[in-house]
């Protein structure tokens, strides 16, 4: 099987496209960085690709909320082609801003909500509890063994860098629904050899404190998938965890070689192997 073709889709204000493309290339894929405007001119350009990746950044400045304007394009002009793309045996990855875009485009909503008269979203990614941007490394536990991107992975370390990464839900039933349909792919977790266990005690609703859960996400959710396992949206940046030297502790732990995040890209490419 030839190397899969990856479309790294960039919009005005996308800024992680180069390193994300590099990650897929290292994993053995053929990557193109396509501008959103080309796709809006000719939506069918999406169809030859096997993997669509929405990388991080500030699409349209996040001026109406993180990912909102980009997601309007996915829900509008690109709705049909995206459906068609997903019906094939393809993969879809949204990182940070890309996750915000996918979620606000409704890709992680359950089937029940799409049938109801109320078409409003049941969940969102909104301002961190601290109300401020944060760049720090987090540890993630893999919660969905059917997600293609996370195959054979239990945990990974990668940085987050966002202001609007807190998953918030309309009511408790939404989180229950996410859990029951195994949509939760990644959770923020304290290190097993936690340096300060008292600092990582959850609050009454089970939300771990920062910096373990850096944004206060409900259910400590860091990433979502769907029933097929062929879509993944996550706030942390696996493309900033490709090499040992990106890890904040590499000089202490004398790490060498690849970083945790590289596995995620290798899994995606291997799926087509």
């Amino acid at each position: 099987m030839p190397a899969p073709r990856v479309c790294v889709l960039r919009a005005p204000g996308t800024n992680c496209d180069a390193e994300t493309a590099h990650a897929f290339e290292l994993a053995g894929a053929r990557v193109e960085r396509l501008h959103l405007f080309r796709l809006l001119e000719e939506p069918r350009r999406l169809l030859p690709y096997q993997i669509l990746c929405l990388p991080g950044g500030f699409s349209y400045g996040d001026d109406l909320g993180a990912g909102v304007i980009f997601s309007e394009h996915l829900r509008g002009q690109l709705h049909d082609v995206l459906q068609q793309f997903r019906q094939a045996d393809t993969l879809l990855l949204g990182i940070c801003n890309g996750f915000q875009v996918l979620l606000k485009a409704g890709l992680f909503e359950g089937d029940s909500s799409s049938d109801s008269a109320d078409r409003r979203r049941t969940m969102t990614l909104t301002w961190n509890r601290s109300a401020r941007y944060i760049d720090c490394w987090v540890r993630l536990d893999v919660a969905a063994d059917h997600c293609v991107f996370l195959k054979d992975m239990d945990a990974l370390e990668a940085p987050v860098a966002h202001a609007e990464g807190r998953l918030a839900v309309r009511d408790d039933a939404v989180l229950k629904d996410l859990l029951s349909r195994r949509a939760v792919a990644l959770r923020y977790a304290a290190a097993p050899n936690g340096t300060d266990p008292s600092a990582a005690a959850p609050d009454d609703s089970g939300v771990l404190p920062p910096p373990v859960n850096p944004n206060g996400s409900v259910g400590n959710v860091a990433g979502l998938t769907d029933a097929s396992g062929r879509v993944l949206g996550l706030m942390p940046h696996p493309e900033r965890s490709l090499f040992a030297t990106q890890h904040p502790q590499w000089t202490r732990r004398q790490l060498t070689g690849e970083g945790d995040g590289m596995k995620l890209f290798r899994n995606a490419v291997r799926y087509f192997g």
């Binding site: 005005p12 001026d63 490709l242 000089t251």
Partner: protein, 971 residues
């Protein structure tokens, strides 16, 4: 119709903005404010009905999961209960990208939207006095440099901005003016030129027998401004050094910078011969050095002090945005890979009632500046990886904001070659009234009225516009679609086109420039400093390809003129010629002025340090001093990892919270080569001797690089002088002395300066309530920024202790140099010996240490700076979560305990070395003094004993770490 779509946090969500306002109000002592609720609103004008608005706004303007929305028609019904309402709106014409994006998105949903504006809204509860209400509005809710408040119901009916412009040519009858009239014209017209300069202009126009137009005068003022031409430092200076009433040094410079700092680089390059690794220095918008065979690297650091004093967020925002355009406008354009920021503020705990009129509280300045840098850098996707923050009372009215950018450029694209006939094309943002007179304003002194005079000088950036522009320009560069490029910085088109066409000539068609709104005069278009604009020279045959490429990614590009070979700058508006100036007069016509500079060598004053049996309190006080304390609250707000090149982060150690000496970034993910970014700054030394301040800043910048593994023979440095009013010979004297030191130290270290910038007149003047005038000048402040390189990133080291049992070495010699030290500072002591430096010994030491690091014998390395040995040891210990036991025994017979602990002598490091590698490590130091002073221990204490074995320091790591983290814990 004009609709008001108001969006509030849902009941389940915190009202973050309200909490901020309450806290700030409490801090300011605004009593009586019981409760406050905040919301934001979109004001939408167009032929639209309520249902359509509601449908479109849900999910687009309002995040229904966490926000509630209500829609009302404007003007609002007059409701007397509404006097609790306060609306904050931008002044007309201020950049509002949220409104622009909302308008575009709403139009895509099918709404017939004419205009959109945004607004913040507060409902306040409580009995506020009129004075408190005003203070709350002007200090907490709004910044009147860019915003205004409307109280009560919003009676807006229309959002239109600007009205059509009726052309009429203005001339200024300068030929008949006497000197007083010339001076009046200079100050009232915000030209800020000297009388001699005004007379030179007058003579020019007398000679050609006509009066100048307004645009001609403005063009000359912009070009001759301190900001654009650096006429003081690049001018003639007569410098004298006096000691005990005798002149000990007497120098005449015809171009001071050229004969000191540039000359040092020339000498180093000559010495290097074929191995010269400088590519382009002091010529282009940024300095350029070699990186590898294929790529070079650019570095530039700028200041944006005056705009940041007035509007900290916008000033810092556009400060970073502006310096990013410098490398973008270097050669044929570089790709930014990381940024730096260094700030100088007054202490944030300054009492509210000690603020002079017209001065923002330093806490607000600090928060605004940090947010401004954060929002620009993060949105551009350029990691902010290095910085520093210094505090001193004298920065109260005049904070300093330094922003730097490092960028990569292909080795064959470091030179632009514009040809006459090439088209002048403006790319990026549109032109508006923002930033008019920025160049001349920044060259003047701040006063309490600056806020109103300079309303136009304040700008808000739009990083997405700049990012989009960067994306297309790099593609255009690689396709060879343009022949030269420069940024539109201070002076706008006037400076950009004037500089590019200096040796050829240019004709500009001002009516073709795309405008943000109608009504700008030809002069406003020409000198506007609207952000996010670049000017490129496009050969006519590439015109269509270039414009098409820009359009394909939504970037506006417009042909506004053509380079000529007439040697003249010709400005046209439609069919009218509005300006015609010889390039030669513009660039070389400025009258030479000889400035006097004098430096008085002062005798050393004593620094009576009290004696103590133990020094733990002093150590903790220094760790908790504002300059030293952890800046984690700033660093974590910056994306320092985007682009995936991060190797050594600004925070390191077992908890990722220790202070790294420098950042290491891999600019090319296919190469193992790294860039090292660091800085040196110590304004407290300048009060003692600017010579040694300069030496210390260079030493600190270089040793920070060397500490993480940089090759000392491949470090380039930048100078940024921020000084007071150099019309005073004494002030200029301290600057010249610092520049002379820069020359000597640079040459001896073999560390070339590659670029620099100065900002003069950093003073703040006001009148107190009795009408008495006051002026505060900043301390002379020299920032040295360093750009180092490492062959292989795997060789880098961090400063946190790694393993118990390892040896700790002190490298370098300690002297009795507590002058300007933090030990003196926390005791409020002046005087003492300023730290000196032997650059020849330093060079050898840096090379020997580098060889030791390269050989892999060093597990941790930290430079000794503020707080000396004790602070460096404490930082290494708590960052590594490992204790250490050190002894001062055998270091010196003469030096006292506090000197050994806290002296800030230059060129010193601590290194952690595993026992088995100790011999190999020591062998690298053939010339430089090193001493094995102790070990890493397994416990949680830092113990430092004196020569007699008595503990001088015995503190837990937790107490040291807490002392260091406490000062900004609530930020």
């Amino acid at each position: 119709m004009l609709w008001d779509v108001e969006i509030r946090p849902a009941p389940s969500e915190p009202d973050v903005e309200a909490a901020r306002v309450l806290e700030e109000a409490r801090r300011m002592g605004v009593d009586g404010l019981k409760e406050i609720r905040s919301s934001r609103a979109f004001l939408i004008q167009g032929k639209i009905d309520r249902t359509a608005i509601a449908e479109s706004a849900s999910g687009l303007l309002c995040d229904d999961v966490v926000e509630d929305m209500s829609i009302t028609a404007l003007p609002a019904a007059d409701d007397s209960a509404d006097d609790r309402l306060i609306h904050i709106l931008f002044h007309p014409g201020v950049t509002d990208s949220v409104a622009d994006n909302a308008a575009a998105a709403l139009r895509r949903t099918g709404l017939d939207v004419e205009a959109v504006a945004t607004c913040r809204r507060y409902r306040i509860d409580g009995a506020l006095s009129e004075g408190d209400r005003r203070r709350l509005i002007t200090r907490v809710l709004a910044n009147d440099a860019i915003e205004h408040a409307v109280q009560g119901p919003l009676d807006l009916t229309d959002l239109s901005v600007g009205s059509d412009y009726d052309f009429h040519l203005k001339t200024v009858a300068i030929r008949d003016m006497d000197d007083a009239a010339l001076e009046r014209l200079s100050s009232q017209g915000q030209l800020y030129l000297s009388l001699a300069e005004m007379q030179t202009i007058q003579n020019h126009f007398r000679r050609i027998d006509r009066d100048p137009t307004d645009i001609e005068l403005e063009t000359i003022a912009q070009t001759w401004s301190e900001h654009c031409s650096h006429k003081t430092l690049a001018g003639r200076i007569h410098y004298r050094e006096e000691q005990d009433g005798r002149i000990v040094r007497d120098l005449h410079f015809s171009n001071m910078l050229k004969e000191t700092i540039f000359a040092a680089t020339e000498r180093i390059r000559e010495r290097l011969g074929d191995d010269d690794w400088c590519v382009s220095v002091f010529r282009d918008n940024a300095g350029v050095v070699k990186f590898d065979d294929r790529q070079s690297v650019c570095f530039k650091v700028e200041t944006h002090n005056h705009p940041s004093a007035i509007e900290p967020y916008g000033g810092a925002n556009t400060g970073l945005g502006g310096v990013i355009r410098d490398p973008m406008g270097t050669g044929l354009g570089a790709r930014p890979v990381c940024s730096t920021d260094v700030f100088c503020f007054a202490p944030p705990d300054c009492p509210e009632d000690r603020l002079p009129p017209g001065v923002l509280h330093p806490r607000a300045v600090m928060q605004g500046v940090v947010a401004g840098v954060r929002d620009y850098g993060n949105r551009m996707g350029i990691p902010t990886v290095n910085g520093a923050v210094c505090f001193d009372d004298r920065y109260l009215g005049n904070p300093l904001v330094y922003c730097g950018n490092v960028a990569m450029i292909p080795a064959d694209k470091t030179e632009g070659r514009m040809q006459p006939g090439d088209l002048i094309v403006t790319v990026g943002g549109r032109t508006g009234r923002d930033g008019i007179h920025g160049a001349t304003f920044s060259s003047a002194e701040l006063t309490q009225e600056s806020e109103s005079i300079s309303g136009g000088a304040v700008q808000i950036g739009n990083p997405i516009t700049e990012k989009m522009m960067l994306d297309v320009l790099l593609q255009a560069r690689d396709r060879g679609l343009y022949s030269a490029i420069t940024d539109c910085g201070a002076g706008g088109f006037s400076s950009a086109v004037g500089e590019m066409g200096e040796h050829t000539g240019a004709e500009v068609w001002l009516d073709r420039c795309p405008l943000k709104y109608p009504g700008l005069s030809y002069t406003e278009i020409w000198i506007s400093e609207a952000q996010e604009r670049m000017v490129v020279a496009v050969p006519p045959e590439h015109r269509d390809a270039f414009l098409h490429l820009c359009a394909s990614e939504g970037v506006e590009a417009t042909v506004i003129g053509q380079f000529t070979r007439t040697g003249e700058l010709v400005l046209k508006y439609a069919d009218h010629q509005v300006g015609r100036l010889p390039m030669e007069f513009l660039h070389d016509g400025r009258p030479p002025i000889v400035r006097d500079a004098v430096y008085h060598v002062a005798p050393e004053a004593p620094c009576p340090i009290p004696d103590r049996p133990q020094w733990d309190d002093e150590l903790q006080a220094i760790l908790g001093s504002l300059n030293v304390a952890s800046k984690e609250w700033i660093i974590r707000q910056y994306d320092h990892e985007v682009q995936a090149g991060s190797v050594i982060k600004p925070l390191v150690g077992i908890h990722s919270d220790g202070p790294s000496d420098a950042a290491v970034v891999r600019p090319d993910l296919t190469s193992a080569r790294g860039l090292v970014i660091a800085c040196g700054i110590n304004p407290h030394l300048g009060d003692l001797d600017p010579w040694w301040m300069a030496a210390a800043a260079i030493d600190e910048a270089v040793r920070n690089c060397v500490a993480v593994g940089a090759d000392p023979d491949r470090i380039a440095i930048l100078d940024n002088f921020c000084w007071g009013n150099t019309d005073r010979p004494e002030t200029l004297g301290t600057l010249v002395r610092a520049a002379l030191a820069c020359h000597d130290i640079s040459v001896a270290l073999g560390t070339p300066f590659i670029s620099g910038k100065d900002s003069l007149n950093n003073e703040f003047s006001w009148e107190d309530e009795h009408g008495r005038p006051h002026t505060v000048a900043i301390p002379p402040t020299l920032l040295i920024s360093a750009l180092g390189q490492v062959d292989r990133i795997e060789q880098c080291v961090t400063m946190d202790l790694k393993a118990s049992g390892n040896r700790i070495y002190l490298i370098g010699r300690t002297f009795d140099e507590l002058g300007g030290s933090h030990l003196a500072l926390i005791h409020g002591l002046c005087g003492g010996s300023v730290p000196k430096m032997d650059p020849h010994a330093a060079r050898t030491l840096f090379q020997e240490l580098h060889a030791a690091i390269r050989s892999g014998t060093v597990r941790a390395c930290h430079d000794l700076s503020e707080g000396g040995l004790a602070v460096a040891a404490a930082e290494m210990a708590f960052s590594g979560g490992l204790g250490a036991r050190l002894s001062l025994s055998g270091l010196s017979e003469e030096l006292s305990d506090p000197v050994l602990l806290f002296s800030e002598s230059n060129t010193r490091f601590l290194a952690e070395v595993p026992e088995p590698q100790a011999d190999a490590f020591e062998r690298h130091f053939q010339s430089s003094p090193i001493r094995h002073i102790g070990h890493v221990t397994g416990d949680d204490r830092l113990v430092i004993e004196n020569a007699q074995g008595r503990p001088l320091i015995d503190s837990t790591l937790a107490s040291l770490r807490n002392a260091w983290q406490r000062p900004f814990a609530d930020m």
